[in-house]
């Protein structure tokens, strides 16, 4: 049986990394897979880098945290510095190409380093509010842990009540998933 896929998501408080991790975990669980998600919590949550540890597999998951991620996503300057320790020879390290001045902090031991323009796409093409959903699209495309449709179902479950009032939000979120997937599809 294949080992669980290990994912790290890190960003500034408010960037929505914890929601993304939770939705992916729930989507995987809905599909009958095993998932374990744990946020970092503690005082650093307030004004520090927010890190989500997520594992998805087909057998019960072991320890909640891990040393090396299969995919590590860093969404801010500080998140890059904080998460470079989780990169190893099998790691795909994803970061937002809009982050400046982190060239020296990008891990040099990763299998692949993948800058993606998620912040720019969110701001110019879609809406800053769906930035984290773009990231979600990128993560599920890069890892294949759940099909895109499952992710959309999970979003519907979570935000359906908002979509009822404003169906355009649904369209926006689903488009964000697709765009996020496109951002990594070409590069992998």
């Amino acid at each position: 049986m294949a080992k669980a896929v290990k994912i790290i998501l890190a960003g500034e408080g408010g960037q929505g990394v914890q929601s993304v991790a939770e939705i992916i975990a729930e989507a995987a669980n809905e599909q009958g897979r095993e998932a374990l998600y744990i946020p970092n919590f503690g005082v650093e949550q307030r004004g520090g880098v927010s890190v989500a540890y997520l594992q998805i597999g087909d057998e019960p998951i072991g320890a909640p945290k891990f040393l090396t991620g299969d995919i590590v996503v860093a969404l801010s300057d500080r998140a890059v510095h904080r998460t470079r320790q989780y990169a190893g020879p099998e790691t795909v390290f994803v970061y937002d190409s809009g982050i400046e001045g982190v060239e020296d902090a990008i891990p040099t031991n990763a299998k692949k380093v993948l800058p993606i323009p998620a912040i720019e796409v969110a701001k110019n093409e879609l809406h800053p509010r769906v930035f984290n959903i773009i990231i979600m699209g990128a993560v599920i495309k890069a890892t294949g842990v759940v099909p895109e449709q499952r992710a959309k179902d999970a979003i519907e479950k979570k935000l359906g009540y908002k979509f009822e009032k404003n169906p355009k939000l649904r369209e926006l979120n689903f488009k964000a998933i697709d765009r996020g997937a496109e951002l990594v599809a070409g590069a992998l």
């Binding site: 072991g62 040393l67 090396t68």
Partner: protein, 362 residues
């Protein structure tokens, strides 16, 4: 009013704190007393959210001393009562739980360990092992279950009420901040539908009949004037505890018979050890896995057997040897080398355990 919080079997995905609240509901706990402290707060939150729907009650007290004593009050009134705490709250909880030992009150306490000493971190540790197993001014007359998965948090929270009411010793479910906050799947169930009998609570005070005529008087004491009287009462308690110990002691193990080294751990750290040992065994390494589920009483017989067979224990824990001390007491005289892997207040990953085993075994 809805009848039961859980009907049939249901696969769910939630945090450990939420699991505990559901399990206490399923165990037919009648009242929770509590005082907030991270990382166990959501046990109270979910309990209070569900309590009105299922005719259960909640009292928030002014601190953990009070939460512990009111829990004992609930028990004396003949109710299934429980509380939950962590860290410095657990420290305060030891005073009332000492009284529970003295008066043989079946209180249930859920502990989600955080860093120590003192306020330390609100996050995680296994540093409340010594306190939870042996705290208070007494002799450790209590039962402590150390859970490792959300399924176990559910199963053992239900079991804790039965153990407490059957043997009349305070019973603890020892989790930690990781288990409290992480989300994973488990199957929730109605215990009675699975054939698990839920022992009913019984009144301590106000029993029918005339005391001394129809029944012995209800005299529950935590104070004695004479040394000999205390001594005599305690002898009875020790006898009861020794009789109970083999009935409640639980463990999990594999690969112990053919191993040159056994990794011993408890709680959430056992997940890392299990994963590491499985992988190493698949690669042909002669390493075993042993995990006490009850930290008090320990499964002494099985521990000694594992020690004699392998000759070497690697003790992995997120504390500076708190489990190790309990093991050494249980293993006194056994020929076993104890190799420490201590990371007080910090999580342990399977990669780290595997690396340590490899370095030890050469």
């Amino acid at each position: 009013m809805a009848d039961k919080p859980i009907q049939g079997e249901k696969r769910v995905f939630m945090t450990g704190n939420e699991v505990v609240a559901y399990a206490a509901m399923a165990a037919k706990a009648e009242i929770m007393y509590g005082y907030p402290i991270t990382p166990q707060n959501e046990i109270m939150h979910y309990w209070t959210r569900m309590a009105p729907k299922y005719n259960r009650e909640f009292l928030q007290t002014e601190d953990e001393l009070s939460a512990g004593f009111t829990t004992l009050g609930g028990v004396l009134a003949g109710r299934k009562a429980f509380t939950a705490t962590a860290g410095p709250g657990n420290t305060l909880m030891q005073e009332p739980m000492s009284m529970a030992e003295a008066m043989r009150l079946p209180s249930v306490v859920v502990v989600q360990q955080r860093g120590g000493p003192s306020t330390a971190t609100v996050i995680y540790s296994q540093q409340e092992v010594t306190m939870t197993t042996l705290g208070g001014n007494g002799e450790g007359l209590r039962v402590v279950y150390s859970t490792s998965t959300h399924q176990e948090l559910f199963d053992y929270t239900i079991k804790a009420f039965n153990t407490a009411w059957k043997y009349r010793f305070p019973t603890f479910v020892l989790g930690d901040g990781y288990q409290a906050k992480m989300r994973e799947s488990l199957t929730m169930y109605d215990p009675e539908e699975r054939g698990i009998e839920l022992l009913p609570a019984q009144p301590y005070m106000g029993k029918p009949g005339t005391p001394g005529v129809d029944r012995p008087p209800s005299q529950y004491r935590n104070t004695y004037n004479v040394e000999e009287e205390l001594y005599e009462v305690l002898q009875g308690y020790f006898e009861d505890y020794a009789k109970m110990a083999p009935e409640v002691a639980e463990y999990e193990s594999f690969g112990v018979d053919d191993s040159d080294l056994v990794v011993v751990s408890h709680g959430v750290v056992a997940r890392a050890c299990k994963e590491a040992v499985k992988e190493l065994r698949e690669a042909g390494v002669k390493v075993g896995y042993f995990r006490p589920i009850t930290l008090r009483p320990l499964p002494e017989k099985q521990l000694r057997e594992a020690a004699e067979k392998s000759g070497r224990f690697l003790v992995a824990e997120s504390a500076q040897g708190q489990l190790d001390r309990l093991l050494k007491e249980a293993l006194f005289g056994a020929k076993v080398e104890m190799i420490p892997m201590y990371k007080p207040g910090v999580g342990i990953t399977s990669e780290e355990v595997a690396a340590r085993v490899k370095s030890v075994m050469g």
